[in-house]
């Protein structure tokens, strides 16, 4: 039936043979060809070039590229297979982009060297200023680090054999005693190994007292000198080196002092490097264990020993242990004790009979339903099925909907 565009008549122009049929305004509009240019059909007409829809245009503008990442239809739910495919695609784009960014990096470098201004595409590499979070950790903590007597032990956790450390400390205190100085003076002295560890022995005399015997001459005197050197000397040296800024303006004496300072600094650096690289505190030589019988009846001796050990190891020795230690061997026995494990799992793992059982596994925490199913391999199936049915999977899903 021919429909007239121009007519607003309600009567349909039919062929001569059929009578006029009434068509209501609504039906007429529906059957008419649309004049609206904003509908999709109008846009999809082959006369005009196909413009991309609003969503695509927005996404292109936001991302700044012709091919923005993400789904073509962001409101559509993807199946797991489609999700995996999309992830792969995104990874390949990222790889491609990396290659692209290298090209852009060279381009940026070229432009920068040429002095051209290049606006940043993103905030990578730009300096961050301000913001409320992180100030305490970054600024305040960095500038306020507490250091006390007990904060970091000089030897720290590097001690391989505690017996050697205790023996060496006893040697130090006996040396100070022989020299006649105050026994606890050397508590914060430098720790250096080598000769002092290996070539000084503790021997028991006939009357029951203990003394030192050195393999190389003057070794005990060297040790005493090291122990009695006050730490303030090192501070003065540091201050001096800071004051001397213009070496050219120095006289002969000052130059000599500066040379000494540099030599000591280098020596100090070497020592610290050594300490960092070779962590074990152990002697290669085995000593006669008679020193374990050294009695701790002298209170001054005991105090000096405890103080030096506390400083070196960085841990407090409890008072009842100090009280009950009668000999050096008691101190060694206490310090050699392994700390009791806090978790039952750690204790169980050390039982060999349990390890031998093939059908027993030990965990730190109680296994829940999901973990048990994961081990069997059934969980992914359960999860997929629940998702398919639209049911909540975890308790939290139920609460938060």
């Amino acid at each position: 039936m021919k429909v007239s565009h121009r007519s607003t008549q309600l009567w349909l122009k039919t062929s001569r043979s059929s009578p006029k049929t009434f068509i209501c305004h609504r039906c007429r509009c529906l059957t008419q060809k649309s004049h609206f240019t904003t509908t999709r059909q109008a846009r999809a007409s082959p006369e005009e070039p196909q413009k991309p829809d609003l969503t695509t245009r927005l996404r292109r503008r936001i991302w700044g590229t012709e091919t923005p990442p993400g789904q073509k239809d962001p409101y559509r739910r993807l199946t797991p297979e489609e999700k995996a495919a999309e992830l792969l695609e995104q990874e390949s784009i990222a790889e491609g982009k990396q290659n692209a960014s290298q090209d852009t990096a060279t381009e940026i470098a070229r432009r920068q060297s040429a002095g051209e201004y290049l606006p940043a595409q993103n905030w990578d590499g730009l300096e961050r200023i301000g913001g409320a979070t992180g100030w305490w950790e970054e600024e305040w903590d960095r500038n306020n680090v507490y250091r006390g007597f007990l904060t970091e032990g000089v030897l720290g956790e590097k001690v391989a054999n505690i017996e050697d450390v205790v023996r060496r400390v006893a040697v130090e205190i006996l040396a100070l005693k022989q020299a006649g100085g105050a026994l606890h003076e050397g508590a914060q002295a430098e720790w250096s190994e080598g000769d002092f560890m290996e070539n000084i022995d503790i021997v028991k005399n006939e009357d029951g007292s203990f003394t030192l015997r050195e393999q190389t001459p003057d070794l005990i005197d060297e040790l005493v000198e090291l122990l009695q050197r006050p730490p303030e000397e090192e501070m003065e040296i540091e201050e001096l080196s800071q004051d001397i800024e213009d070496p050219e303006a120095l006289g002969a004496e000052e130059q000599r002092l500066l040379d000494e300072i540099h030599a000591e600094e280098e020596a100090g650096e070497e020592q610290t490097l050594e300490e960092n690289e070779i962590p074990t505190v152990a002697t290669t030589k085995t000593h006669d264990p008679i020193y374990l019988e050294l009695p701790l009846t002298d209170i001054a001796f005991k105090f000096a020993l405890i103080k030096r050990l506390t400083y070196l190891l960085g841990t407090r020795i409890p008072d009842p242990k100090i009280n009950s230690s009668k000999t050096l061997g008691d101190v060694v026995a206490y310090l050699s004790e392994k700390p009791k494990p806090t978790k039952l799992a750690e204790i169980l793992r050390e039982i060999p009979e349990l390890k031998a059982l093939p059908n027993v596994e030990i965990y730190d925490t109680k296994r829940n339903f999901v973990q048990k199913e994961m081990e069997i391999g059934r969980w992914k199936v359960i999860e997929a099925e629940l998702k398919k049915k639209g049911l909540p999977i975890r308790k939290s899903d139920r609460l938060h909907g």
């Binding site: 507490y146 006390g148 007990l150 970091e152 005991k302 100090i322 009950s324």
Partner: protein, 298 residues
């Protein structure tokens, strides 16, 4: 006469004891012998005097003429705060820091302190306290119903509470000697577990930032990871107290007069100033000072 002389000489020794507690071994209190045979496993007799062995004493020697028995001494280390540098050893008698564990005495002391701390201010209105008139609601006889007085009766809704709580004092009594023993038992328990840290003289920290004291506590193993610590000082130190008040689950700071036995047993360790510890021992030693040596047994 001889008995009077013996009595006076005994009293003289006792007063000297009160002045210098276990500092000079020659002038020590005459403790009953049975207290030396305590159940502590690690009590050492560290004699500061030259004679470490007691000479043979014949049974015929009268009690007053015998030398005082040696008092076992316990070593404690004096530290600086917060650097934890050992300064010296200090000795305390075993009757102070090596008292055997008596859980029942600690329980009694904690319950006593809890009772004492009760406010006891619960109050419910009795029929006379309830607001309302005393008019008789129904005639005594003739209604066929039970007799009824005023509307404030506890039987009625809106009436008073029968036998309801009234403000009262919940404090109980505990013999002073048992309470004092509980104090020293708690301190001894802490000492034996290595959880008593004695500080020579408490110094205030540099600033009142909570993260500063948290950092210090982490480094000297006093903090949350190590079971928290109670700091007991003689006077209130402004920075330390303010810093600890800003933390949670790290520690507590209290003055010596504000602590009790329950506080000594709560936290992971006690960091106490020496003068406060000495004042506690001075105040809570009624069961060991002034005891007459037993004439029965040796």
């Amino acid at each position: 006469m001889a008995a009077q002389q013996a009595a006076t000489s005994l009293r003289g020794v006792q007063t000297k004891c009160l002045r210098s507690m276990a500092r000079d071994p020659l002038m020590q209190c005459l403790l009953p012998r049975f207290q030396q045979r305590n159940m502590a496993t690690e009590s050492s007799v560290l004699s500061t005097s030259t004679s470490s062995l007691t000479p043979f004493i014949s049974i015929s020697t009268p009690l007053s003429h015998r030398p005082p028995p040696p008092v076992p001494q316990i070593l404690a280390t004096l530290y600086t705060f917060p650097s934890m540098e050992p300064q010296s050893f200090v000795e305390y008698p075993a009757a102070h820091l090596n008292v055997p564990l008596r859980r029942d005495i600690l329980h009694r002391a904690v319950v006593y302190e809890g009772d004492k701390a009760r406010q006891g201010s619960a109050n419910a209105k009795w029929r006379s306290d309830v607001h309302g008139s005393g008019r008789k609601l129904l005639p005594q006889k003739g209604t066929g119903r039970a007799r009824v007085g005023d509307k404030k009766s506890p039987i009625r809704r809106g009436g008073g509470v029968a036998h309801g709580p009234k403000p009262r004092d919940f404090s109980t009594g505990l013999p002073k000697k048992i309470y004092d023993l509980a104090w020293r038992t708690a301190l001894s328990y802490r000492y034996r577990r290595g959880e008593l840290v004695v500080i020579g003289e408490m110094e205030d920290i540099d600033n009142a930032e909570p993260r500063w004291i948290e950092q210090i506590f982490d480094k000297v193993n006093f903090g949350k990871r190590d079971g928290r610590s109670l700091i007991v000082t003689g006077t209130k130190l402004p920075n330390l107290y303010a810093a600890l008040a800003g933390t949670y689950g790290v520690g507590l700071a209290k003055t010596g007069d504000a602590i009790d036995v329950k506080d000594l047993l709560e936290m992971g360790r006690i960091v106490i100033e020496k003068q406060v510890l000495d004042s506690i021992f001075k105040k809570h030693s009624s069961d060991i000072i002034g005891t007459v040596p037993s004439a029965v047994g040796i």
